[in-house]
């Protein structure tokens, strides 16, 4: 979270803005992020910075697995999942582990 706030503050300064208003995060469903912990950490880390009081918005990214047999993706809820087409197990995640700043709103 420190990285996220640092990037946001840097972005605000580069845009000659005086405050960070909102931070938009993209969080994969299998990224091991606990939203409440993230919010708590965000509030603490923002204190005494130009991001203090900013809103944290988290967009979730559904996980998708790659089936090498079918050569296609399928949506999954776990790390090791069964392909709905051929029923083979796959652990090749293509999406779902993201933790990125999508955008920052400054003013």
């Amino acid at each position: 979270m420190e990285e996220a706030v640092r990037m946001a503050v840097e972005t605000a300064k580069a845009a000659q803005a005086s405050r960070v208003v909102k931070l938009h995060l993209r969080v994969g469903t299998l990224s091991a992020v606990v939203p409440e912990a993230m919010q708590f950490a965000f509030d603490v880390v923002c204190r005494d910075t130009i991001a203090e009081g900013a809103t944290l918005e988290m967009e979730t990214v559904a996980a998708a697995c790659w089936c090498p047999e079918c050569r296609a993706e399928f949506e999954c809820a776990e790390f090791i999942s069964e392909c709905p087409r051929c029923h083979n197990l796959s652990g090749e995640l293509r999406r779902g582990r993201e933790l990125e700043i999508a955008s920052v709103e400054v003013s």
């Binding site: 979270m1 420190e2 990285e3 996220a4 990037m7 840097e10 972005t11 580069a14 845009a15 000659q16 803005a17 208003v21 990224s31 091991a32 992020v33 606990v34 912990a37 993230m38 708590f40 950490a41 603490v44 880390v45 776990e78 790390f79 090791i80 197990l89 652990g91 582990r97 993201e98 933790l99 990125e100 700043i101 999508a102 955008s103 920052v104 709103e105 400054v106 003013s107």
Partner: protein, 269 residues
């Protein structure tokens, strides 16, 4: 601070004999600003970034990787639950490779330098990182610890990570091989419970094999679970304490070493 569990807020990471204040960055970071939708002037504006929070660690890890390669080091990142036998495994590996490969160790714990002391009494060059409250090692900590070692005297750099099967999975340290340890007393479904860590490992070592029968260890099930989560990992089963199974692991390391050397040789042409 750990991006996943949020630990480490306001903690003080101590590397070797030096205390480093939390958040101090002595290196001037040249961040390429990827600013899209950028407008000068007042008013609310949204700046698109699309940047991973792991960017900085990934970049430092690659810097480490390049540096270690130039030093012709084979670098291992040893991960496991607390108590799987990492320190003993490293100590015995170093002892049995004496005269063939020189090992140095960077060890991470929240507190105490007990592991470093254990390794030091075995004559192994070691730097202890005490993370305070942080649950994993990151590339920056490893870089700072490596500065306190004479890497030219080493063939293999072993990083003993903080005992934790969750957060360390996402922190690249710049290693060549990630080695996950799993002792026979931990339960056969451990790999299924911690997929990211086991999936990211190049090598899986089943440790404390001397306790297998006392623990009622189901070997077939454990191996099946390991292969299911990490079909590409090389698996070793051993007891660092009795020496059983250690030869296969040591031979494997000896084979890896020329590979680490030849990577640099190719560039020299």
């Amino acid at each position: 601070m750990c991006k996943e569990c949020g630990c480490g807020l306001g903690g003080d990471v101590k590397v070797g004999g030096h205390a480093d204040g939390h958040g101090h960055d002595h290196h001037h970071d040249h961040e390429p600003g990827h600013h899209h939708g950028h407008e000068h002037g007042q008013g609310q504006q949204t700046v698109t970034l699309q940047r991973s929070l792991m960017e900085k660690n990934d970049r430092l890890a690659e810097r480490n990787r390049g540096f270690f390669r130039a030093k012709k080091l084979l670098v291992l990142n040893i991960v496991s639950s607390p108590g799987s036998g990492k320190t003993t495994f490293i100590r015995e590996t170093a002892a049995q490779l004496a005269g063939r490969l020189r090992l140095g160790v960077i060890v991470g714990d929240l507190a105490t330098d007990n592991d470093a002391a254990r390794l030091r009494t075995a004559g192994i060059p070691v730097v202890q990182i005490t993370t305070g409250t942080v649950c994993h090692l990151d590339a920056d900590m490893v870089a700072r610890a490596a500065e306190q070692m004479d890497l030219d005297q080493l063939d293999v750099l072993v990083i003993e990570n903080v005992g934790n099967l969750v957060c360390p999975a996402d922190y690249d340290l710049g290693e060549d091989l990630r080695v996950v340890l799993l002792s026979v007393t931990e339960g056969e479904d451990k790999p299924l419970k911690y997929p990211p860590m086991f999936h990211s490992a190049h090598v899986a070592v089943v440790t404390k094999s001397d306790l297998a029968s006392a623990a009622g260890f189901n070997r077939d099930l454990t191996l099946a679970n390991l292969k299911r989560v990490s079909h590409h990992a090389q698996i070793f089963e051993l007891s660092a304490k009795t020496g059983e199974g250690m030869k296969a692991w040591l031979d494997f390391l000896l084979e890896q070493r020329p590979a680490a050397k030849s990577k640099t040789k190719n560039i020299e042409h």
